[in-house]
């Protein structure tokens, strides 16, 4: 019999019972909760007179609606404020641990989960948020769910699941200088397409993935969903294990070593068979910039805006024309000639300490270009922000003309006050360039933190390898 994939190992370890039709009742170890997708689930519990099954398996944080400035005065937007206060009330009523808005541990749910050691290898982790795939970077099975499933997990600590197909995406060889985890995942999505991973749990592997830090692996797994895969994962190695030493929710002492021994088994067996294998050559990956309104619409910074006239598939060509019209771009324009209005460094994709260090390194003593109306850095959590300030990164950004903000999702999806105005063009380290994502009529170009910093200084996209 062939060996098991990492996905199958974790899935099998969590099956409570199997239905005749192949649907499994899967036990959920960790449930992260935020203010946007939970109120209707808490309300459902109340209406049915149910209590959470295991309240200690939950951790809540407000992140989507929170302001990134003047936080001590509260939330000006009354509708946002009500949603955040509803989370506070629900957590108090049901006894769920919450890092409230002014707790220094508050931050983006996918940043704080690992930071606190709430996320652990080998666990099943869910959250009412598609970027839950981020946690797969630690050899966990993590995926986003809708609000009905949030309520199901609250009430039963389980989910009904069909086993996903497995895909291995191997990035062989070594990345060139200036090429980051973000470029890797954008290149992967450009290769497989936004629906390439639909129905699959993806395991990222190969020398280039192994060489990434755990934070880099988080950026890769974070965007698995942009390739259609609900779950992205990476095998456990010593970097993974070391990451969790001393984290508040992680086991300590002898229990940690017992856990670590178990975690070291969290990798696909050498003879495991995947339903699909995709291979990329790391050396061929260049810094990426998205040009359209879907993350698969991405090219190397050295390339030009693609021309729909060269696309044989009429449905695709039509989609490209719509995207060019929305983005206000002309086919065949070199990417490096595209000027920007705003820069956003943040989001669950790229707001961890290494991301901020990479951006600050590129900024150096430079100044934000005159044509850039706003450049902002939004750390992923209060603890990331503190760490960055200890290292003096805030001073580098502020001296260059960036704004240094409080942690949250911010302009990744513009549910708070941070947004693009119609027609504004943004170099963004976030994960989605959909129409209206960063504000109605806003134009998003997805890039790495280093590329975003370089664009801020130049006023247009530039190849960070030449700086």
């Amino acid at each position: 019999m062939a060996g098991k994939t990492l996905f199958d190992k974790i899935f099998d370890a969590h099956v409570v019972r199997q239905q005749d039709d192949g649907t499994a009742l899967l036990y959920i170890d960790r449930h992260l909760v935020h203010e946007v997708t939970s109120p209707q689930a808490f309300e459902g519990l109340r209406l049915a007179n149910r209590k959470p099954w295991r309240v200690g398996a939950m951790l809540a944080v407000p992140d989507h609606n929170v302001p990134t400035t003047n936080r001590l005065r509260g939330i000006d937007d009354l509708v946002s404020r009500e949603q955040v206060e509803t989370l506070d009330r629900n957590c108090a009523e049901f006894g769920v641990q919450e890092f409230a808005m002014n707790d220094k541990r508050q931050g983006i749910v996918h940043v704080i989960g690992p930071e606190e050691g709430f996320t652990l290898p080998g666990t099943t982790i869910v959250c009412g948020d598609s970027h839950t795939s981020t946690h797969g970077a630690f050899g966990a099975l993590a995926f986003g769910i809708g609000t009905s499933e949030v309520e199901h997990v609250m009430a039963t600590q389980t989910l009904l699941q069909k086993r996903a197909k497995t895909m291995q995406i191997r990035v062989d060889g070594q990345l060139g200088a200036g090429v980051t985890a973000k470029d890797v995942v954008l290149a992967i999505i450009g290769t497989i397409g936004t629906a390439g991973g639909t129905g699959f749990a993806v395991e990222f592997a190969g020398e280039a993935i192994e060489s990434l830090s755990v934070e880099g692996r988080m950026s890769v797994c974070n965007m698995a969903i942009e390739g259609g895969a609900r779950a992205g994962m990476v095998a456990v190695d010593e970097k993974t294990i070391d990451y969790f030493r001393g984290r508040p929710f992680a086991p300590q002492g002898a229990l940690f070593e017992q856990a670590a021994a178990d975690w070291r088994k969290l990798k696909s067996d050498p003879d495991a068979v995947f339903d699909k294998v995709v291979v990329l050559d790391a050396a061929a990956i260049e810094p990426q910039v998205s040009w359209g309104t879907s993350p698969e619409m991405v090219v190397p910074v050295t390339a030009q805006v693609p021309d729909p006239a060269n696309e044989p598939d009429p449905v695709k060509a039509d989609g490209m024309r719509k995207a060019l019209a929305y983005m206000g771009l002309t086919a065949n324009t070199p990417m490096e000639q595209i000027a920007i209005d705003k820069v956003f460094i943040g989001s669950c994709t790229n707001a961890r300490i290494e991301d901020l260090r990479a951006a600050a390194l590129v900024v150096g003593t430079g100044k934000v270009a005159a044509n850039v109306k706003l450049a902002m850095v939004v750390p992923g959590s209060g603890l990331v922000r503190e760490q960055a300030e200890r290292e003096g990164l805030d001073k580098i950004f502020l001296a260059a003309g960036f704004e240094w903000r409080e942690p949250g999702c911010s302009m990744c999806l513009a549910m708070n006050a941070d947004r693009l105005e119609p027609g504004e063009r943004c170099a963004s380290t976030s994960n989605r360039n959909f129409e209206g994502r960063q504000g109605q009529g806003g134009r998003t170009h997805l890039v790495s933190p280093a590329m975003a910093a370089a664009a801020a200084i130049a006023g247009h996209f530039v190849d960070v390898r030449h700086i």
Binding site: R17, G56, V79, E82, G128, G144, T156, Q157, T198, G228
Partner: protein
Amino acid sequence: MQAFNTFTGILAPLDRANVDTDAIIPKQYLKSIKRSGFGPNAFDDWRYLEPGEPGMDHSQRTPNPDFILNQAPYDQATILLARSNFGCGSSREHAVWALTDFGFKVVIAPSFADIFFNNSFKTGLLPIVLPEVIVGQLFKEVAANKGYQLTVDLQNQVLKKPNGELIAFDVDSFRKHCLIHGLDDIGLTLQHADDIRAYEAKRRQTAPWLFLDQA
């Protein structure tokens, strides 16, 4: 959840691939703590000429005449036809709530994003996957016949065209059962509460570090 019965309804053609959940229901409407009332804001950016915010009287906004769901008879549609990868992006179940609140009971596409597909069944919206060529054919037929209708028979897993032609579709048997009977998943799962407790007891032995909250 309401039981899903056989019905005949107007098919609205939304000729786009990768329709994402941000397009189906823009972020500003996710601030609601309710489960209803999203219908007027389904496809908000495409549907109205002015930007929208929660709390506005949306009936006073200017509909975009070019958007298909603003054109009769598609404003009465109950079946949505779209291209591949429908519902990609954010996990927001609000997208499903917006579609059902608008009046849709079925979405037909060559493929769906996984989370949207899952969410649909939880709210009684039936996502039907059909091969690209059949979807392409439906787009042609609806363009040629204004007010084109389909009958959706979930029990027998067929769509019936106006000319009587049948199109068979697949659906997971358990999900079909839940839809047809309008069953609440949570109630069903809690019938297995003893199994869940037994799993936890066993797991606590093999992986005690996962139960520090119960130490």
